[in-house]
Symmetry: C2
């Protein structure tokens, strides 16, 4: 396994691999890897000759009051996990190498990025799209794998790849969950034991939505109200948003008639957690029960 | 010579060329080609195995009151010129193919793009950077050639290539001028015979700047005042801007101490013309006299 810190070296290596006819698979991460990331590696492995996993806690996607500085980091542990998972190259650049002095170019999306997490995290998706565009160029990825847990992010990256004509195939990986159903996230480590238990309210709300949908309910407002009612009594929980949106346009729907995304973001204490469910179900949510 | 209209076909062709080890040179144009464009082709030819010339009047870089619909177009003439100049591929996509329904992703620059032409043409450089990013991805260019006449544009494209890590070398081509010194531009065809004569005031202003500089003048305000004084009596001329900026940061300078760009934009009647001179001189302006 090769570990590359310099963007220039990464790009040189990638261009040489491409010239040699290798198919490159990219798994972009912020490190502190969990089984969700390893599932992405497995998918990349299946579609590429060389798997590049990037580890980069990207400053431009964090707001001024967010958790950039305390975001969990453990490179030695990540390295061991990558070696075991069959990653070929870890790309872990320094922030100053990715954003040198005088940096001034950003990728912006002005439709899909405005709702859901984009509404409560202004600038977040600009940072995400910018760094992913950079990673596409640096790794010369033929295929890139993203997790369904960040549903709005993956929709935006598909849109960027299409609109800016990146020659990359975006692969979507189903949500991976803990034994009790909590969607895996590096941010779960922030939770106290009590918060960890209360964090189950996210998936329970999605289960409520699924139950109502299966019983024939199609009114978005009624489903959202039932989800909210399940979360409100949870002491540490504060709803950021609960939304039912068209899976393609991410616009809110009144009635569920097309494929929709039931998405929610909830603060558990100070920790911002997200989860989602596609309806009609397609297995991407892996919701238990 | 191959003529490709579909972005998908262009990208497939480019990826196949890259796999075959060919070096691809891109010359982005809006068509209605003149000798300035052909000089770009010659430079691309020298550095690449395959020269792609794109012809695309890009709607996103025109403001609502600008000349998008009346911008001159003559594909048959362009095709003949390209064949003679040794272009390998003309890429001439339709606007709907480049900006399909639901298009929403743009490349923005938030420093260098704010002054000079960016100040009087809001959104212009966002459109330029977006289409050039698309062209880089569609043509898989190893090298791309831009003219010094659009000095701010080429500085911005260098910045985008660096900041977003496009694996492309940007080559700068000197300004090509008509026999009497007017910088070549497809927009020169808008000028009436009287305006065509008055349009010489742009290069005359640059000659004034050069004369003062050669005589030891380093005060930007005094040089600009002398340039303005030469243009003001010209009946059809209305100054958009005259600026002396650091060649790297494009920030206005008080005194000429580093390499600077003397840049001006003047309306001749309704036609927006630009020209520039680098000081100390490096030949890129080809200013007569």
């Amino acid at each position: 396994m090769n570990i590359i810190a310099s963007p220039e070296d990464m790009q040189k290596t990638a261009l040489a691999l491409r010239r040699a006819g290798k198919r490159i698979g990219l798994v972009p991460t912020m490190g502190f890897l969990h089984e969700g990331h390893l599932a992405l590696v497995k998918l990349a492995r299946r579609q590429a000759d060389v798997v590049v996993l990037s580890i980069f806690v990207n400053p431009t996607q964090f707001g001024p009051n967010e958790d950039f500085s305390r975001y969990p980091r453990d490179f030695e542990r990540d390295r061991t996990l990558c070696a075991t998972a069959g990653v070929d190259i870890i790309f872990n650049p320094a922030p100053e190498a990715m954003y040198p002095a005088g940096y001034s170019v950003y990728v912006e999306e002005n439709g899909l990025s405005k709702g859901l997490c984009g509404a409560s995290r202004p600038g977040h998706f600009r940072g995400v799209l910018t760094v992913v565009a950079k990673l596409f160029n640096l790794t010369q990825a033929d295929v890139a794998v993203f997790g369904q847990k960040d549903a709005q992010q993956v929709r935006l990256i598909q849109q960027m790849a299409r609109d800016l004509n990146f020659p990359v195939t975006i692969v979507l990986a189903p949500i991976i969950r803990e034994a009790d159903g909590l969607a895996m996230s590096s941010r779960n480590t922030y939770l106290s034991p009590a918060e960890r238990r209360e964090a189950l309210c996210l998936q329970q709300a999605l289960q409520t939505a699924r139950r109502l949908y299966r019983a024939g309910e199609r009114d978005a407002r009624r489903i959202i109200a039932a989800m909210k009612a399940g979360i409100e009594p949870v002491p540490a929980a504060r709803v950021d948003y609960i939304a039912i949106v068209d899976a393609d346009t991410l616009q809110r729907v009144q009635r569920i008639e097309t494929s929709v995304l039931v998405a929610l973001a909830v603060y558990i204490g100070k920790t911002h957690l997200i989860d989602n469910l596609t309806l009609p179900e397609n297995g991407s949510s892996n919701l238990p029960g």
